[in-house]
């Protein structure tokens, strides 16, 4: 017997084992496919919210056929392609021919070289099983039970349904433009066509009146604003502003301060009006000049005189001192319109941040003095007068942060309170016991019992004691009777 015969057995057993593994893998994968359903549904929701219009059928394919199929197929493929160990194949064959480990042992000893008598005997012993093993059919292992739950698919279906219904709920963005385009098809069409109509209207209508156009309008806002700014570029004040701008683009300077641009009271205004006013607010310094310079913007200028200018003012690059403005609008919760505007501003700022800072004062209201990192040595033995205990060779550092929690870090511990009265001194002296007067309690003062005594265990008296007691009391009574009789006779 040589190792080649065992190789043949292994090669024969490997393909069925691979198939069996693949079968087991996909059966097991069914249990996890529920998660794939939910993942697919989540993907569907995500795509739906991102603006992809998906029908129910594609959605079903995406949810059911996509991740679940991918998962089950992947598991099946992994099971099919996983290598079958030689020992595993031999073990399966041994189970079929009842070799009880002889084939594996022989394979091992042949690989090592049968050096002992028992190894040779083991190899010879396995030889009688080899021929059988080459012909015997492999027993099919019991398949793992398919674990399948309808919970996850049902949850996935619910998610798909939710995703299907969710876009039909009109958002605040979509409500306002529908009022603007009153009388159009969008007003009378069913809800589900709102977004499509909006998209269609986006192509037809001017940017100010359609919802999608609004978004476009926002995207083009910077371009519009800059064109407006260029239109009024010739004014004297603007020139002055431009003179302070590093890049010479005064309009973009307005987006430098996000904090100032976010809140405010512009919610009172129509968004359309805002768009018109934005370039004007950019020219806030201009409006502080004589009003003859900017007659068209006068009404809006009077409307947003203080807080509004400050709230949106940075958009216009207000040069008013931020510390003097009341900033009352900061406490207000921005509405959705403003959030959107702000986010749009963020997007616009991304490419112009680095070059459009000039000409705008940063918000210094909450600014704190920077940490002093002065490493200068103090004057002689005295610490530096500028030392604040944070860095450098200054006084003892303040115990702050994690270091104060770590054991072993020396931290001065001061306990406030009154000084201690000192240790208690105990002195002992030997004294002779003295008699004390005490008042004995008289039994008569106890009074009568006013409640039943309850069950009292009767002491067991032995018969002889009972007899003695009986005789004693009878004798006592007899004496008492006799003395009483004698006394009565004497009295008579």
């Amino acid at each position: 017997m040589n190792r080649g015969s065992i190789d043949a057995i292994v090669q024969r057993a490997t393909p069925p084992l691979r198939k069996e593994r693949a079968r087991r893998a996909w059966r097991r994968s069914l249990a996890g496919s529920g998660t794939a359903f939910i993942l697919g549904a989540g993907l569907f929701l995500l795509l739906r919210q991102s603006g992809f219009a998906l029908g129910l059928f594609p959605a079903a394919i995406l949810v059911i056929g996509g991740p679940a199929l991918l998962w089950v197929g992947g598991c099946w493929l992994a099971g099919l392609l996983a290598p079958v160990a030689r020992g595993e194949a031999l073990e399966r064959v041994e189970a079929a021919v009842h070799a009880r480990g002889r084939l594996r042992a022989a394979d091992d000893f042949l690989a090592r070289g049968p050096s002992t008598a028992f190894m040779q005997a083991a190899v010879e012993d396995a030889e009688r099983f080899v021929e059988t093993a080459q012909r015997a059919p492999l027993p099919r292992a019991a398949d793992a039970p398919v674990v399948w739950s309808w919970r996850e698919p049902a949850l996935a279906a619910a998610l798909v349904l939710l995703g299907w219904l969710l876009p039909s709920v009109p958002s605040p963005f979509e409500r306002a433009p529908r009022e603007v385009v009153a009388g159009t098809d969008a007003e009378v069409s069913p809800r589900r066509s709102v977004s499509e109509e909006a998209r269609r209207a986006e192509r037809r209508a001017p940017p100010e009146t359609t919802p999608a156009g609004k978004r476009d309008a926002r995207r083009d806002k910077s371009r519009t604003a800059s064109s407006d700014r260029y239109a009024t570029d010739d004014t004297e004040a603007t020139r002055g502003t431009r003179a302070r701008s590093r890049a010479g683009q005064p309009g973009e300077g307005g987006s430098a301060s996000k904090a100032a641009g976010a809140p405010g009271s512009p919610s009172e205004q129509d968004p359309a009006v805002k768009k018109v006013e934005k370039p004007k607010s950019t020219k806030a310094p201009v409006r502080r000049d004589p009003p003859k310079e900017a007659p068209p913007s006068k009404p809006s200028d009077s409307k947003q005189k203080s807080g509004m200018t400050a709230g949106r003012g940075s958009k216009g690059g207000s040069t008013r001192n931020p510390t003097t403005s009341n900033w009352s609008s900061k406490d207000k919760v921005p509405d959705d319109d403003q959030k959107d505007l702000e986010s749009d501003d963020d997007v616009e700022d991304e490419d112009s941040d680095s070059e459009a800072r000039g000409g705008v004062q940063p918000n210094l209201r909450d600014r704190k003095p920077p940490v002093n990192r002065d490493l200068a040595i103090g004057f002689g033995n005295r610490p530096s007068p500028q030392a604040n205990g944070r860095g450098g060779p200054s006084q003892r550092k303040k115990s702050r942060g994690t270091a104060s929690l770590v054991l072993g870090v020396p931290i001065p511990d001061h306990v406030r309170g009154n000084p201690s009265p000192g240790r208690t001194k105990v002195t002992q002296e030997r004294v002779e016991p003295r008699a004390e007067e005490s008042e004995p309690a008289s039994a008569a003062a106890r009074g009568r019992r006013n409640a039943p005594i309850g069950s009292v265990a009767t002491p067991d008296t032995s018969p002889w004691l009972q007899r003695i007691l009986k005789e004693y009391f009878l004798a006592l009574r007899a004496d008492a009777d006799a003395s009483a009789a004698a006394s009565s006779k004497d009295s008579e």
Partner: protein, 337 residues
Amino acid sequence: MNPSLQDAGAAREAAAQFKAMFQKIRGQVTRAMVGQDNVVDGVLTALLAGGHVLLEGVPGLGKTMLVRSLGSAVDLKFSRIQFTPDMMPADIQGTSVLLDKEGGGHEVGFQQGPVFANLVLADEINRATPKTQSALLEAMQERQVTVGNRTLQLEEPYCVMATQNPVEQEGTYPLPEAQLDRFLFKLIVAYPAEAEYHEILDRTTTDDDIEIEAVSTGEEIRALRHVVRAVPVPSHVQSLAVRLVMATQPGSEYAPALANDNVVLGSSPRGAQGLLLGGKVQALLDGRFSVNADDIRKIAHAVLRHRVMIGYAGQADGVTPDQVVDAVLAAVPTPAE
């Protein structure tokens, strides 16, 4: 390598002799011992594998009789030590005494204790103090006894069979882990079945005396031990034994959750040695010339149960060492490579 086993034929013959001798001894022991087949097989396996056995069971189940009948069946020198709390090491090892010389005068001579025998029955070993218990340590592991400045070799085959009662724990001294580890097997002697009760009563309440015939000698037992050690172990079976032992150690790669949560001390490498030695005997009894994974799994409880120390949390939860061994056997598959 055993020099007498030169070729496969000799190995086959030695294996056959081993099996026949085992069955003979077993037959004699079971003449006195009713039931308890697992215990009888375990004791014989330990004897032929060269290990010691700890028998645990309530009184009256025939532990002492089993060992005594085994001593009679193999014609070995048998001694019995009834451990008590006031027993001293000299009581089991022996002591130096003043002896009279023939020509007059005296000399100091060594009087051997009961530990000098082939089969030592240490009855109720947990009643002795740790000092006395530890007197057996050297004898069990090193097969020698040191008294004063003299070291005496014990005669092979040497096998200590200790019994302990799991119920009466007051006034006992539980064996330390170091000594428990020296026992190859710990066997649980359970109550007999109903049919076995009848057999026990028939045998013990009549006037019939059961005489056990000596079917083997110490020399033959030594030869059988060599045969056992000649059985080869395939690498995957050895890996299985190693992994089983490692799985009893909390925090190891193969340890199941039950072991991690409840075991404070796992098996030592002696556990792996015991698994292989016991597996070799099982393979020979099964008519094979190499150990397989089933042999190892079959004796895992006897080898590992006294090497697994359950922590307080496990004891409070009622976790037993056998449950841990079950979890270990379920968690460790036979290596495929």
